[in-house]
C-alpha cells in the first residue's frame, strides 16, 4: 500500500495530539483543545453542506442542539454511565438524521435564499420548543447533569473526543472522495448540469444534509458532556455562526480547513476574552470576527487552506512548467440559474 504525504501528516499530527497531554497537562490547554476538537467536528459537518454541496444552512445549530439535549436529558433522567452516554450519542444521531432527512426533503428543492431562510426558521422553531418545554429542558436556565465516572478525568474525555475527531475525519474524508462525494461537488459546481446528466440532485443534497446533521449531533453530544450542562444557547444562531466562521476562515470544501478554522476561532476567543479583562473593547470580540468574516467572504473566499493550496499549485506548476490548474476549486461563481 502506498502511503501518501497526507496520511503521514495525519498520523504525525494525531500522534503529537496523543502525546501532548503527557508533556503538558495544563488544565486550560486540555479544555481548550477539547473544545477545538468538538467545534472542529461541527465545522467539518458544516463543510459537507457549504463546501462540498454548496448549500447555505442557517439552521445547523438545530442538529448540534439535538445532540446536546439528547445526551444531557438521557444522562440526567436515566443514568450517568458510559453506556448511557454512548447510547445517547447514537440516539441523538438517529433523531438528527431523521429530522435532517425530513427537513431536507421538504426544503432542499428550494433556491438557496429560501433554503437559508427556512433553515433559519426551523432552527428558530426548535429554540422556541426548547424554551417552552420546561419540564424537560428547564428552558433558558438549562440544567446540569453528572458525567459518567470515567470522564471525571479531563484527560480521558480529551482522548475520547480526539478519537471521535479522528474517526469522523477519516469517515468524512472517505465520504467526500467517494462517488457520492464527487456528485455533491458536481452539484456545487453546477446543479443544473448535474441534473441534466441524469442525477437526482435532490437525493444527493438530502444525503449531504443527513450526513452533516448526524455529525453535528455528535458534536452537540460531546459539547454538552464537556460542560456537564445544557441550556438553550446550544440551539441559537451563535452556534451556526461559529460553524460558518470556522468553515469560511479555514477554507470551504477542504475538511482540514474547518478544523484549522475551529482552532483559530476557539483560540482567538480564548485569547480575546483574556484581553477583555484589560481592554473592554475586546468584550465585543464578535465584531472582529464579523469584520474578518466579511473580509474573508469578499477577498479571501477560499480561506486559509484554500489559499495555501492555490499558492502551492501555482508554485508547483511554475516549477514543473505545466499549466495544469487545480481541479475543482471551491466557490466558483454561480453563473447559470
Amino acid at each position: 500500500m502506498k502511503i501518501t504525504l497526507q496520511q503521514i501528516s495525519f498520523f504525525l499530527i494525531l500522534a503529537s495530539l496523543v502525546i501532548l497531554p503527557f508533556v503538558n497537562d495544563s488544565r486550560t490547554l486540555i479544555i481548550l483543545l477539547t473544545q477545538i476538537f468538538i467545534f472542529g467536528i461541527l465545522a467539518m459537518s458544516y463543510d459537507i453542506l457549504l463546501g462540498y454541496t454548496g448549500i447555505v444552512s442557517f439552521g445547523h445549530a438545530m442538529f448540534f442542539g439535538i445532540g446536546a439535549y439528547t445526551t444531557a436529558v438521557m444522562l440526567k433522567q436515566m443514568d450517568a454511565t458510559l453506556t448511557m452516554f454512548l447510547l445517547s450519542i447514537v440516539t441523538g444521531m438517529f433523531f438528527a438524521g431523521m429530522i435532517s432527512f425530513l427537513v431536507g426533503l421538504l426544503t432542499l428543492r428550494l433556491k438557496s435564499h429560501f433554503f437559508a431562510m427556512l433553515t433559519l426558521a426551523f432552527s428558530g422553531l426548535f429554540l422556541v420548543v426548547a424554551e417552552k418545554w420546561r419540564s424537560v429542558t428547564y428552558g433558558n436556565d438549562g440544567f446540569t447533569f453528572r458525567a459518567p465516572d470515567i470522564f471525571k478525568e479531563r484527560i480521558t474525555f480529551y482522548f475520547f473526543v480526539l478519537a471521535c475527531l479522528a474517526v469522523i475525519f477519516i469517515a468524512l474524508y472517505r465520504f467526500v472522495n467517494s462517488p457520492t462525494g464527487r456528485i455533491l461537488i458536481a452539484v456545487r459546481e453546477n446543479e443544473q448540469r448535474t441534473k441534466s446528466l441524469g442525477f437526482n440532485t435532490l437525493h444527493y443534497k438530502v444525503i449531504a444534509s443527513v450526513v452533516a446533521g448526524i455529525v453535528a449531533s455528535l458534536a452537540g453530544s460531546l459539547y454538552s458532556l464537556s460542560l456537564r450542562f445544557v441550556n438553550t444557547s446550544v440551539l441559537t444562531m451563535d452556534i451556526t455562526l461559529d460553524a460558518l466562521l470556522m468553515t469560511i476562515i479555514g477554507g470551504v470544501g477542504t475538511l482540514v480547513g474547518p478544523l484549522l478554522g475551529a482552532g483559530v476561532i476557539e483560540y482567538a476567543q480564548h485569547a480575546l476574552s483574556g484581553l477583555a479583562r484589560d481592554y473592554p473593547i475586546f468584550e465585543r470580540w464578535i465584531i472582529f470576527f464579523g469584520i474578518l468574516y466579511i473580509l474573508a467572504v469578499l477577498f479571501f473566499p477560499k480561506g486559509i487552506i484554500g489559499s495555501l493550496r492555490m499558492l502551492f499549485w501555482k508554485w508547483r506548476s511554475r516549477r514543473k512548467g505545466n499549466k495544469k490548474s487545480p481541479a475543482a476549486l471551491p466557490h466558483k461563481k454561480e453563473r447559470f440559474e
Binding site: 457549504l50 433556491k111 455562526l241 464578535i286 465584531i287 440559474e337
Partner: protein
Amino acid sequence: MELMVNLMINGLATGMLIFLLAAGLTLIFGLMDVLNFAHGGLFVWGAYAGIFTYMYTESFLIGILGAIGTGALLGLITEKLIITPVYGNHIQQILITLGLMLVLQEMIKVVFGPNGVPVKTPSYLAGSWEIGDVIIIKYRLFIIVVGFVIFGIFQYMLKRTKIGLIVRAGVQDKDMAQALGIHIKQVFLYVFMVGAALAALSGMLMAPYSGVIYAEMGMEYAILGFIVVVIGGMGSFSGSLLAAILVGLAGSFMAYYVPVLSLAVNMILMAIVLIFRPQGLFTMRKERST
C-alpha cells in the same frame, strides 16, 4: 367584543411595523434578487439612532427623521461595499449579509452600550381613547395610520410615477430594462437605500411600542420580516402588506388564546407556504423553486 377590537388593533399595529420592515426586503429582492439578511441590522440601527436623536432633541419627529437618515446612509454604504461586489453570487450574498447583520448588531452594543434602553412614548401620542367599552391606545392607532399612509404613498409611486414604472419593469426583466436605456444599478442603489430607510423607520416606530430597545431585536423582527415576504410573495409589495397584517393578527390572537404557539405559528405558516406554494400566497407570478 372589546377584547376582539383590542386584539385586532394590536395585531394591525404589529403587522404594520412588520410591513415596513418587509417592504424594503421584498423590493430589494424583487429588483436585485438579493435576500438581505442584514435587514434586521438596519432596523435596529434605525431604532437606536432615532431614539437617541429623540432623547437628545426631545422631538419625536426629528427622531423619526434621524432614523430615516441613518437607514438611508447605512443602506448606501451597505449597497456599495457589501452588495455590489457579490452581485449575482447567491451564496456569497447570503453569507456576507449575515456577517453584516452580526457586525451591525454588535456595533449597537459598542456605540450605545450592551443593555436595553427604555423608551417613552411622546406625550402627545401617549394614553388612550375610550369609545364605549373599547379602549384604543393612541400610539397603536398612530402606527396603523402611518403604515397605511406609507403604503399609500408607495403604491402611488409604484403605479403612477415614472420611477415606479422603472422599478416595476426592473423587477420583471432587468436585462430588458437596461436595453431600454435604464441604468439599473443606479436604480438598485436607490431602492436599497429606500428599503433600508423603511426598515429604520420601522425600528424607530417599534421602539415606543415595545417600550424598550435592545441589540437583538433586529434579528427577531427580521425573521418576522422574512416570513412576511415569503407568505406575501417575494417582490410583491401589496402581498407583503396583506401577509404582514395576517402575521400581526395571527401573533396577537395566538398570544392571547394559545400563548405557547404564538412564536411558532408564523414559522409553521411560512414553512407550509414555502413547501406548498413557494410563489407566495398572494401572488400568481413566476415559479421560483429550481
